[in-house]
């Protein structure tokens, strides 16, 4: 069964450094998302992306965050200058679409655990 893949599985970075988290969504999916889960807390929405642009972002997704689909298969999340509070599990998700007759769920990758020191 096709799945969303994320790399790396664990990233350790010094505070203030830039980090890029990578995701390969399921191949026929058109909508892409990033979520994060701080240890012991709820899964939180960061951003959704469709047709090469952001369709929605949360308050968490400030100027330090950016997303990109650099080619036909990858979807990346960049954090420009990491803070201690960015430490979390980051999940990428994708879905086929939201047409009238094709209401399909979001499927999640295994996540990247980001640890900021």
């Amino acid at each position: 069964e096709p799945e969303v893949t994320q790399t790396p599985s664990h990233q350790v970075t010094q505070m203030g450094q830039e980090v890029i988290l990578r995701c390969v969504p399921i191949s026929n999916h058109l909508y892409f998302y990033w979520y994060r889960q701080i240890l012991g807390q709820k899964v939180e929405f960061l951003v959704s992306f469709y047709n090469n642009e952001i369709s929605e972002k949360s308050e968490i997704f400030d100027d330090q965050f950016s997303v990109e689909r650099p080619d036909g298969s990858n979807f990346t999340l960049k954090i420009r200058s990491t803070k201690l509070e960015d430490s979390a599990m980051y999940f990428c998700a994708s879905s086929v679409g939201t047409g009238w007759s094709s209401n399909q769920p979001q499927h999640f990758g295994d996540g990247t655990r980001l640890s900021i020191l």
């Binding site: 979520y35 929605e56 769920p105 990758g109």
Partner: protein, 112 residues
């Protein structure tokens, strides 16, 4: 602001028991309610519910949505130790980039 509340927070049952998990929600532009199972890593999809009163079933798991009460339940019958996990409920907002708002989850532990 969209909101999802799940109950109970956690429960411990023995193999063969039946469990019922609850989810209540508030969302401005409802598209769907989803249930996910989270073990060690990724939330894995269980059910997507869009219409009220129609039960969805997959093996020993079933779920139903009540749009009037803004709630859903997830039932697991004849529980097995492999059902031990955190069960997440989320609502999808169709006017906000399809974002999912998650509840805090219910932790289920099934003892042999």
């Amino acid at each position: 602001e969209d909101k999802v509340v799940q109950s109970p927070l956690s429960l411990v049952v023995h193999e063969g028991d039946t469990v019922t998990l609850n989810c209540s929600y508030e969302v401005t532009n409802f598209r769907s309610l989803l249930w996910y199972k989270q073990e060690k890593k990724a939330p894995t999809f269980l059910f997507m519910l869009t219409s009220s009163g129609i039960e969805k079933k997959s093996g020993r798991l079933s779920s139903i949505l009540d749009k009037k009460e803004l709630s859903s339940i997830l039932n697991i019958t004849a529980t097995q130790t492999g059902d031990s996990a955190i069960y997440l409920c989320a609502v999808e907002n169709k006017a906000a980039g399809n974002k999912l708002t998650f509840g805090g989850g219910t932790r289920v532990l099934v003892k042999p």
